[in-house]
Symmetry: C2
Subunit: 258 residues, 2 copies
């Protein structure tokens, strides 16, 4: 019986809590832990990875390194994006951001360490494919952040597909490799992963009143979100597995209010 999204999220939370950081980080580990664990988060990417694994018959233990790796890369991106030289945010989810709490230098190193920890986790598998997917997604995300912050008038859909979509795609793709799904059976899954980021980001824009809402109004953005959710469901229907938990995640992403 596959676990519910809430059960998977609780599992991610407790595994993050007890994650052993590399001992040579010394005191740097404190701000890493603050940014990756204490700041909280929806944990939606690692839940997707775990659910992808369960749908493919893999054990949770087998999936956890990949799931935690994708969450650490997400958190790394927040820690660096919050820095004064990029978005200059001193608060996130009601808490001081890492640089506001620990200083700019330590926050810079904390982000670096999260990224390196993510690759340490992703390279615990025998195959290098898990780490390779993560590296490619990270590069796409960085390209998206570049377009978003440095290029006036960059195409919004391109920015979203890179900045948000790449990591969502990787949360599925890494899950496939971690679960041992052969490459020639990954196609329908990858098509699903490709749509997820847009669904998440359009709803984000609606909740934050920016992005697609500015471009197309609330109704236009809502229509986009509904179409993205429909495409996700259609892609999932083409996958030859029990994808009920993933379907549930898609449904809740479409109507989420936080």
């Amino acid at each position: 019986m596959p676990q519910s999204p809430e059960e998977l999220k609780a599992l991610v939370e407790s595994e993050l809590e007890r994650l052993s950081l590399w001992p040579q980080l010394h005191g740097q580990a404190e701000s890493v832990r603050y940014g990756a664990v204490e700041m909280g988060g929806k944990r939606v990417r690692p839940v997707l990875t775990l659910a992808t694994g369960e749908a493919n018959g893999a054990s949770v233990e087998q999936m956890l390194p990949a799931a935690l790796a994708i969450e650490l890369v997400h958190n790394f991106s927040l820690v660096h994006d919050d820095l004064p030289s990029l978005d200059n945010d001193d608060e996130r989810r009601g808490k001081p951001t890492v640089w506001a709490a620990y200083g700019e230098g330590p926050a810079l190193l904390a982000g670096d360490a999260m990224l390196a920890e993510a690759f340490r986790l992703a390279s615990r598998y025998e195959t290098a494919h898990v780490a390779r997917e993560l590296a490619q997604a990270t590069l796409g995300m960085i390209g998206g952040q570049y377009l978003d912050t440095m290029v006036e008038g960059a195409d919004l859909e391109t920015v979203h597909r890179l900045k948000t979509g790449c990591l969502f795609f990787a949360s599925i793709a890494m899950g496939l490799w971690a679960a041992g799904v052969p490459e020639d059976e990954q196609g329908p899954w990858r098509a699903f992963g490709d749509e997820l980021g847009m669904l998440f980001q359009v709803v984000d824009d609606i909740l934050d009143d920016d992005g697609f809402v500015v471009e197309r109004g609330v109704d236009g953005a809502r229509a986009l979100a509904d179409q993205a959710a429909e495409r996700c469901r259609a892609r999932l229907a083409e996958v030859d597995a029990d994808t009920s938990v993933l379907r549930e995640i898609v449904d809740s992403l479409a109507v989420r209010t936080v």
Copy 2:
């Protein structure tokens, strides 16, 4: 006939020049290229990786992803360390540092992208061991940078072993995995890799008139360097392979003046 250190360095230089960065980086690729290629460097770490591969009968082609990956991680560390929130250096090797040339935000992202590109290269191998060694070394290096910049009175040898030693060790260890050396034959090589960083860093301190020179005077530091070089030669002598090129690199590291 193994290639000389100079030939290997020229090869690293030309392969860095023609390295294809991930296309989704978009315009961010420019500052990555500036920091990783145009800023130059001694390229000693990738040369060590290539020489380790040659001594183990591997082709240069087989070794290049690992060699370029270790150089990119080294360059990532320089780009981030130079930022105003850490060392605040606006010049390196007579050129503007990445943040001085492109701004702080782009330099932050450039370093992130170099680290991710490094893992993309390291995960091109079938085995994840190459990427795993790189991740562990990167974490150690970050811990060393933390001790160096944030902890008053941190033990100098510990700082050097982490900040410099970890990457030197990885330049050998990654080379072993990339060359397909079985784990149970890696011991003597790893012992050699373990000594390299100290040799490099003590000589650095002598050239820069800091670190061990401040702690023990020029003569004391020189004696340390000689002992480190001796230990490197002794470890190499225990390796069952033609290590003449590596011996040449050790000899030149011991007496280098730049």
